[in-house]
Symmetry: C2
Subunit: 344 residues, 2 copies
Amino acid sequence: MVGSYGPLPSPGERPFIVEVRRGAQVESRHAVIAAVVDADGRLVAGWGDVESIIFPRSSNKAFQALPLIESGAADAAGLSNAEMAMACASHGGEARHTETVAGWLGRLGLDHTALECGAHWPYHEETARDLARAHALPTALHNNCSGKHAGMVTVAQHLGEALQGYVSPDHPVQRRVTAVIEDVCGVRLLPDAFATDGCSMPTMALPINKLAYGFARFVTGQGLAPERAKAAKRLAAAVLAEPFFVAGSGRFCTAVMQAGGGRFIAKTGAEGVYTAASAELGLGIALKVVDGTARAAQTALGGLLEYLGLLDNAARDELRPLVEPVLSNWRGLRVGDIGLEPAY
Amino acid sequence: MVGSYGPLPSPGERPFIVEVRRGAQVESRHAVIAAVVDADGRLVAGWGDVESIIFPRSSNKAFQALPLIESGAADAAGLSNAEMAMACASHGGEARHTETVAGWLGRLGLDHTALECGAHWPYHEETARDLARAHALPTALHNNCSGKHAGMVTVAQHLGEALQGYVSPDHPVQRRVTAVIEDVCGVRLLPDAFATDGCSMPTMALPINKLAYGFARFVTGQGLAPERAKAAKRLAAAVLAEPFFVAGSGRFCTAVMQAGGGRFIAKTGAEGVYTAASAELGLGIALKVVDGTARAAQTALGGLLEYLGLLDNAARDELRPLVEPVLSNWRGLRVGDIGLEPAY
């Protein structure tokens, strides 16, 4: 494999495009709004209206996990790097994921019934089929957010707060998370910004450039209170030490952090969101595929990481099957591919 | 439930928009290009560039099935309405689907190994899990295109052509299909138009308005040779008699034709395509969600059918859960919905 992804078009007022190609034709097109922001809030590069309001969804789980560290709950519970990574994860529900969360809850004297995220079949397809083959049903442990929820329960228990109802916007756990997001991203969240995420927890809409700004501050610590900066660095280190626990087999968050060799963190969010951040460059990245499609978000992130010089040749080739996937049909024949729209 | 879907904005140069809403915000947006064309080729209504080139994918399976009727193969094989509907289907792989195709092939002295579509897990999730629970693997019968492929094999056998390789663009079966599409849609397909579909068969790119034109001719017979017009009407009647076999439980193609009570046919295609046609109005409809997302295509088709007066109040309310779906999270809480962008 040779050559760069893309390259991206020059930054500007227009979103960039991810193409889905079949034969000699472009079959579908995804518009991507993206912002690269430094820890002073300067827009280093932007495509499209970077003040567009989006829901970060799971892309800011690392922010939501800050109280777990800051409160001392993580230390009190003796959390491992893998467990802290799971507090920031959208995992595939593989056995190593569910066993890790179950073990963590077990040390607190709890089990999956303490989690208020609901159950869904594991994202990891073979795991889902194995579950069906065993005539079993998924539990809250298989929910991709179970690690985040375990983190919230851990905080509530540590601080002597009610465990039940920790997903409610009025619960101290959620009020704390809201305050953290407002602080880290430099925003004031008004009532209209609040909605409910797939896992029943609040998700708060904010501008794309503010989300990127928050991640620049998260990885550099710049402008954050010392305890918060320290907690952020600890979470970033945990995620980089255990990228499998952030997503799983075949998943882009895991693969891109493994290929990056510690140069950046990255996290997907539902509806075509991706965030990333590099302490080395002092930059945060946030992107939104306007139509909400995940396949375009990972291609877009690959292009942005390359634009910023964060992928060496080996990393680029290793990630190519996920950034520029070949589309095969049910018999395994190549029928097309996905990639950045060529710049003309 | 009250009120219309939408309504759609006035036809014009701009695509219309399907919104995905969460809380008080629009989370994702899908642009839709659509054409409504009569059997003389007149554009009755269009949104966006209706000459955009798209792959119809499975949305034109009814055209691909015409040789099955015209050749006499359907009669020789004694095909039922359900079997003819399956020749035009993208089915969910439910037991009634796979058993119907298996029975049909059995009468020809064949089985699933004659089908060159490849295997995939059934789209119908409970059926897929039941298969896993039985420690079984999917076969070509479960492929959503198995009925179309059975139709092609039936033609080849009837005409004494090689069964093996019937998916190849050079096989007489495919050359016949190409000629049919060129005739029905009034296009000349150049080499760049040909690509490979998910089921290994050729798919041919053509303008959206020509696809709509083809469907207007298909349901009216206007401008087609008498034998072709007759075959088209027979397929349309089979599809309307047995809509379950075109898609299946919980699927929009089946539901919309059931709700329409015979006033129109409708068919989905991969990557956000939908076609429909009304003999009563003499109109064909084709639409493409620019980003290829299926969820927006069915909302868009609902809006178009209503625009054309093809849904009465009962049909509109019956289809609302699919056209304007409420988005629930893993615990069943309402978090948002999908619908046409309100016209201002």
